[in-house]
C-alpha cells in the first residue's frame, strides 16, 4: 500500500495545446471583428470569436480536475426493544453492541420486566425504493 503510483495522470498536454490554439484563434477573430466595425464582416468575425471562446471554455471546464467526493452515507438503523411479558415496544437508534435477541436491555416502563432487542433493521430511504 505504501509507495504506489497515483491512480491517474494529469490533463493531457495535447488537449491543453488544442484549447490554447482555439483561444488564440478566438481572440484573433474578435480583434478582427472589432477593427472591422462598423463595416464589412465584423458581425461574422465576432460571432466566430465568441463561439470559439465559448467552446474552449467548455473544453477547459470539462478537463478541469474535479475531485470526486465519496461519502459513506450512514444508514438509519432502528433497534426495536420489546417486553416479552406485556408486549411493550420501544424503537430507538442503533447503538454499538446491539444485536437481535440481546437480553436485559433495560426494564419495561409498564411492567418492570427485562426487555429484549426484537429487531434491528435499516429504515427505508429514497435509494431503497426500487
Amino acid at each position: 500500500m505504501s509507495a504506489e503510483k497515483p491512480a491517474t495522470r494529469r490533463i493531457s498536454t495535447f488537449l491543453i495545446a488544442i484549447i490554447l490554439i482555439t483561444v488564440v484563434l478566438a481572440v484573433a477573430a474578435l480583434s478582427v471583428g472589432i477593427q472591422a466595425y462598423p463595416e464589412g464582416d465584423w458581425l461574422l468575425y465576432l460571432l466566430i470569436g465568441f463561439s470559439s471562446l465559448a467552446l474552449s471554455t467548455y473544453m477547459l471546464a470539462q478537463t478541469r480536475r474535479r475531485t470526486p467526493r465519496v461519502v459513506f452515507k450512514p444508514y438509519k438503523i432502528a433497534t426495536t426493544i420489546a417486553c416479552p411479558k406485556c408486549g411493550f415496544k420501544n424503537i430507538r437508534e442503533f447503538e454499538r453492541g446491539d444485536y437481535i435477541f440481546k437480553e436485559n436491555v433495560g426494564a419495561c416502563p409498564k411492567c418492570e420486566e427485562k426487555m429484549t432487542i426484537a429487531s434491528i433493521y435499516r429504515e427505508a430511504d429514497e435509494e431503497d425504493k426500487d
Binding site: A7, L44, V70, F72, Y75, F94, D128
Partner: protein, 374 residues
Amino acid sequence: MVIPQVSQGLLGGDNIIGWILQIVWLLFFVVFMFYGQRIQLWILLRELQSSLLRLKLIRDEGRKMALSTIKEIGKPQGDPTEQVDRFLEYVTFPPETMDPAGVVWKLEHILDVRDVRFKDEVKLMAPEADDSQTRNLANTLEAALALNVIYKVIRHFYELGKKTLSYFIILQVQMVLPLIMREAKAYASALRAFTYGQPIGDGAGALVAAKLMNKHRKRKIAKEMVVAKVPIEGRTAYVLKADGPGGNIGKPGEAMKQIIEENKGKISTIIAIDAAQKLEGETPGDVAEGVGVAIGGPGIERYKVEESVLKHKIPVNAVIIKEDIGDAVSPMRKEIFDAADVAIERIKRILLERTKKGDSVIIAGIGNTTGIGQ
C-alpha cells in the same frame, strides 16, 4: 448581410470563411478516418480514469474506517497501520485442480488456514477486542481487502490498456465497470455494518433460524455453529445457525453432516434457508421455495451435505429470501427482516406437507450472523 455569408461559408461559398470552414471539415474527416479509434480509446480511458479515482477514494476510506475501528475497539499498544496495510495485501492461492480428486478437502484446508491466520492477525492488531468483536473486525478487514483488490485489478487493466492502447483490453473493463462499481459500493456499506456489528442482508437465513431456536436450549456443533432441538408442528426440528452475534458463517455443511450421523440417517427432510441473488425487477424480501442445498460460498459445505443426503436418501428443500448484492452486505432492510416471518410460515407448510408427525428434520439458517444472537 451576415446570414447569407455564413450559409455561403458552410456550404463552401467562394470567400475566405468558406475556405476556412472547408479546410476544417476536411481536417475533421481525415482526423476521424485515421484517429477515430484512438479518440474512442481516449474517451474510454477517461471514463475508466474517473471510476478508478472513485474506487481509490472508496478503498482509502475503507482502510481509514478499518484502522479507526481497530484503534477504538482493540486499543492496540502501538500504531496498527503497518499491520493493516500488510493485511490488505493478503493473497490466497487456491489448490491445484489438474487432478481434481480431493480438491474440496484441499480447498477447505486452505480456507481454514486463512481463517485462523486472519483471526490471529486481528487479535494481534486488536488485543482488547472480545471474541465477537474479533470476528467483526476480521470481517471489516476482509471487506477492506476486497475493496483493495477491486481497485488494484481495475488499475491494472487501466494501466495495461494505456500502455498497449488495445481497444479490447480497455473495452472489456469498461463493459463490466458499472457492475464492479456496484460491488465496490456494496463492500463499502458492508464495512460500516461490520464495524458496528449490525445485521446484514446475508444474515436472513440465520435470522430465520434464530427466531426458531430462540428460548430453546442450544449446544455447539461443528466449527462455530449452534444447534437447538425445537418441536415444530409435532416434528423434532434440529435448527442450526452460525454462532452469533459476531460476524460468522460457520460450517453449516459439517453441522448438518454431524446431525445426520447422530440420528443414523433418520432425518425426514432438510430445509436450508439462505439469502439468494434477486434478479432486477424482483422485489427484495420475496420468498421462494425449491429443492437442493441452498448454501452459498465456495461450495465445500454444499458438497458435504450433498454427500450425506445422497448416502441416506434424504430429501433437501430450499427456502430463499431474495436480495441483491448491495442488500446482502449492507445493513438488513426492513423488507428482508419481515421476510423472515414469511419464510417461517413456508417452513411450517413444507413440514406439514412433506413430513409426518414425530419425524426428525433439519432446519439450517445459512448466512453471516453478524448482529444476530440466538
